[in-house]
Symmetry: C2
Subunit: 402 residues, 2 copies
Amino acid sequence: MAPFKLLISRVEALKTVLDSVRPVEKNESVPIEESSSRVLAEDVIADKDIPPFDRAAMDGYAVRAEDTYKASERNPAVLNLKAVLHAGESSETPLRKGECIRIATGCPIPLGVDAVVMVEFTEENEGKVSIFKAVHPGANVAPKGEDMKKGEAILKDGDTLTPAKVGVLAALGHRHVKVYQKPLVAIVPTGTEICEVGAELREGQVYDVNSYTLTSLLSENGALVTMSSIVPDSFEQLKSVITRFLDHDLIVFSGGSSVGERDILGKVIKESGRLLFHGVQIKPGKPTLFGLVRERPVFGMPGYPTSCLSNAYVFLVPAVRKMARLPHRELRTVRAKMAKKIVSASGREQLLPVKLVHGQVHPVFKASGDITSLAEADGYIILPVNLDVIEEGEEVTVALLE
Amino acid sequence: MAPFKLLISRVEALKTVLDSVRPVEKNESVPIEESSSRVLAEDVIADKDIPPFDRAAMDGYAVRAEDTYKASERNPAVLNLKAVLHAGESSETPLRKGECIRIATGCPIPLGVDAVVMVEFTEENEGKVSIFKAVHPGANVAPKGEDMKKGEAILKDGDTLTPAKVGVLAALGHRHVKVYQKPLVAIVPTGTEICEVGAELREGQVYDVNSYTLTSLLSENGALVTMSSIVPDSFEQLKSVITRFLDHDLIVFSGGSSVGERDILGKVIKESGRLLFHGVQIKPGKPTLFGLVRERPVFGMPGYPTSCLSNAYVFLVPAVRKMARLPHRELRTVRAKMAKKIVSASGREQLLPVKLVHGQVHPVFKASGDITSLAEADGYIILPVNLDVIEEGEEVTVALLE
């Protein structure tokens, strides 16, 4: 059992990870109603003007603007009602001087019309319409192409689709859209000390927690997860499972929390590829390792549930989001005062789960092996390597786990 | 065509909506790996101690603490190595004075052991282990029940599941979890002026944008959406579609942007239930209406895409989240300076889509009928009813559409 020798900093470790993972290249076609939060894999160019015709922007009366120039509250212009256009209807015959057409929002502007008077400024009575307000040419007319002009690039390759961007696709008549595939992530629990959830625990066993916390977290950050069954911590087994999952974009081992077991994975990666770091100056999370096998990124996460999950927020989420081409997302932070004094002397940067109670920061960390620490936490604070003490009442920055 | 008469404020409208919608009561069982972001519909009580046994919290040597009391860097205590426990292994025979057992993190603590010395402070050589540091009883031992005590309430009915809370369920061996069903939302596009996306547009038609923007937005906020086909704006058709969707928790009509068509829906609701408001003092979004039919909430959203979607952020998202029992979520806001002067004289509160460019706020609103306004926007600012002018350089609060 060789203890860790050289630890790298969290910042350096994250940089190594982000420099090593690549955005997915493969794309797929999905129905637009399932495309929100996905990443566009094509430029979207308007193939038509939207709207495709000049249209009424308001309910009201379609007029020749010049017929209204002298209209006022006291002296309305009185026009002859020539036709009525309900939503979805259009008119073929041109409007002549002194005439108007009752028109619904969205209807194509009839020939001869150059303005619409809002219904609020009119009064209709037996075929005559009083117009109480002068309008200029173009008033309340939405011109053809106002929203999108034919040939215009509207959305770009790499854009994350939002409800409004999905609306752009619908407006252009697209049923499907090309998006980047989600990165395929294999999550591999290791070690005979863990047991499939729901199976009967043998002496000395605990349930596999990490497969579920990692699957939940990474799925929410754009990954498509394959959950592997539990693999024993032997050189041959770990090697063969890496080979099996080389068709995935990322392989994440969890478990093998002990130094000896981590060493086996480290050796497998060294033999088959490159081990880029093993041991991070962070607490919890020291045993985290990372390497490349045939250019496929491979993580070894600490086995202890709180260590594993908090390091997943720090390293795996940014890695997966980069692979998924999703924008880097900083956790939302708040500043708040410590409810009690903290002394830290770990010689490592520390991720301390905390709860906010009446605006005060209470540490909720029990032990790395516990999951309730993080389940109760509202967020975490990062204690610097060189921290001596934080006094009660001192202000700290809490990164929120929302 | 009756113009609107009395408009209610956004705040009053939202209060009316939230007072009228009820959280879903029905629940369902889902696999825990699909439960993150869902809302727990049961209390979770630990049915066992976790961990189920005292265990080693570190890799190292299991000892009787008193055998180490005199150990130091210069004068190590030397103990006989009695056994080696790899991860997942346990030992039956008790430890005696002067002995130690090499132990991996997570292994059950053998009988007679009361502490673990971290491997870093030891040296093993031909069956002898030098201990360079004294430890107290309990050192590096995670006691049984440290994470969860049998009978303890760990998660509560109504908790939103997070990756860590899913981990709690896994730790307790639960394969499935009872969560509240997602509220069923029917989205019904209306009007012959809109066309199913992808079909051939007839003269005067545009594609149905709102079904897609609303489906995207509400699905992301906990709804299960049924997309209806397009329904003509007639009294009988609207009435029958409400009856058809009364098995849903919420019915949202979109379209019928003109005053006359909105009136039909208003009349249908008045006849079959209660119309709670029709006309909001907000721009865009004046035609928004809301009522109850047999206690089922029914929305009439403006037909214009930007009006519809921005009002969906304001009214539908809070309603759906309340129904889904998800916590109310304020949009994240930033303060930034206006890049240009804005004059507002609408007599209504205004939702103005804006883009942040080099930290400055640029309005991107084109027209309510456009969808690109919101597709380009980073967020919106709310201009108060009584606004006269915002000068260039004045600071405003931008609600971010992320």
